[in-house]
Point group: C2
Chain length 271, copies 2
């Protein structure tokens, strides 16, 4: 079946009722049913349901995804399920196609370099289209704004597809942890240094841009620390100042952005 | 006044009724009213209303924006309005602060280089947060997905603020035109070459990624050509395949994405 029958790993399965129909259908041949095979998930796991081994396998050429806290994308390769007879019994093994899986094509240095360039190019296009969409929206050109939002999304998906060839996703919580170090480097070192440089050179726009960004990155790091407690994370609404990118939440969201002074009416809400 | 009185340039003004109150208030002193001064727009223009010169000026340290087809961001610098008496008459001139305006700080090569690096860094963070938000959403973690969407937006605004120090926006239609050349280079040269290379090296994931991206960029170029006719652009709904980034529109949107085979139920709609 494509969508898995009810199992111990994922909730995204067919209903118990549908599974009952199936069980009734195979009931009188049950001793001949050696395995239940399902797809749909972009990963793999092995379970037992109705006292029959369930093999769930999917992914084709797509990005392997996390299934649950136990079945992480990081541990699964693209694979085939190979069935064969051993001592007269039908058995199987997973045959990893790791030479064709993500992360492996980067061993070709030219390709790695060009994929990285492609990611940068796609992100720059994504960025320019998003800015142009904002500009069209401000001028009341709604249709044109929508077009550029669609183009920006398209470029984002291209960047993601190139990126996924180079990098395997880390386990969920672990990946959230990696972001903090990058934010901290920015606000503690890089942007502070650049604010100082820009001030000394009398470049007020740059000094202000580095200062605002550093202020926001500091808050990002605090939020990223919070979110590592995946189970208890409980911030409901987050506000982003569209002028300087500052991030706020909680009961006491200020009327004016503490970084740039922008008014609260224009904050974007994420909830 | 902050928001402009009704004028010949922008529709975003106070109502005629409000302006009537004002006119009544200054009626008996009208010969003493030399100028009407308004702000609000991030640009400047000069008009005449009620037979009085209207000077509209704004922008502070913010990004200068297009006002209309006649008043383009590209032609306006940050400025002061300098009033003075000449032969007993109150007159004025705009004093451009071009040394402090966008595009000028890039003359410092170190700063330019660091601003470019900062844009790349912010875009990469924006990208990673957006991907992580998608991943959280797929796992049903709505709050965490919202947080990462907010962080992605924040990084986008930082990138935009750094970018605006380096680059002045072109006139609206002109800017739309520049995008086409970049798309064409990608699908006619770069991605075609890389698809060929990846195939020859037996790297199927990369070959597929370059091929899908090239297919979409070709459609982007067609849409970008269309949108240069700003006044007559009339595409209502645009669909983006979230698997490969392909863009579709019109009555005959296919049930399966012609590039990657993804099902139409998962297309994203932009309208």
């Amino acid at each position: 079946f494509h969508i898995p029958v009810p199992n111990h790993f994922i909730s995204n399965s067919v209903s118990e009722e549908e599974f009952t129909h199936l069980k009734e259908a195979y009931k009188e041949h049950k001793e001949k049913v050696k395995y239940l095979l399902c797809g749909h998930v972009h990963s793999r796991f092995v379970d037992e349901v109705d006292k029959i081994p369930l093999i769930c396998t999917g992914g084709g050429g797509a990005l392997i995804e996390d299934v649950s806290l136990e079945v992480k994308a990081y541990d699964v390769e693209h694979h085939m399920v190979h069935f064969y007879k051993e001592d007269g019994e039908l058995t199987y093994r997973f045959h990893d196609l790791d030479a064709n899986c993500y992360g492996k094509e980067a061993s070709d240095k030219v390709l790695k370099n060009k994929l990285e360039e492609a990611i940068e190019g796609e992100l720059m296009a994504h960025f320019k289209y998003a800015m142009f969409a904002d500009r069209a929206k401000r001028r009341g050109m709604e249709k044109i704004a929508s077009l550029f939002e669609a183009l920006a999304a398209s470029e984002y998906y291209h960047a993601r597809n190139f990126y996924s060839i180079l990098e395997r996703p880390l386990a969920f919580r672990q990946e959230a942890g990696t972001f903090i170090y990058e934010e901290k480097f920015e606000y503690e070192y890089l942007y502070e240094m650049m604010e100082k440089y820009a001030k000394e050179k009398k470049m007020p726009l740059s000094a202000q841009a580095f200062k605002s960004a550093a202020g926001a990155e500091k808050v990002h790091a605090a939020l990223l620390k919070e979110v590592q407690q995946v189970e208890t994370f409980s911030i409901d609404t987050i506000y982003v100042c569209p002028i300087c990118g500052y991030v706020m939440w909680g009961d006491k969201v200020p009327k004016r952005c503490p970084i740039c002074g922008g008014a609260s009416q224009q904050y974007e809400m994420y909830e």
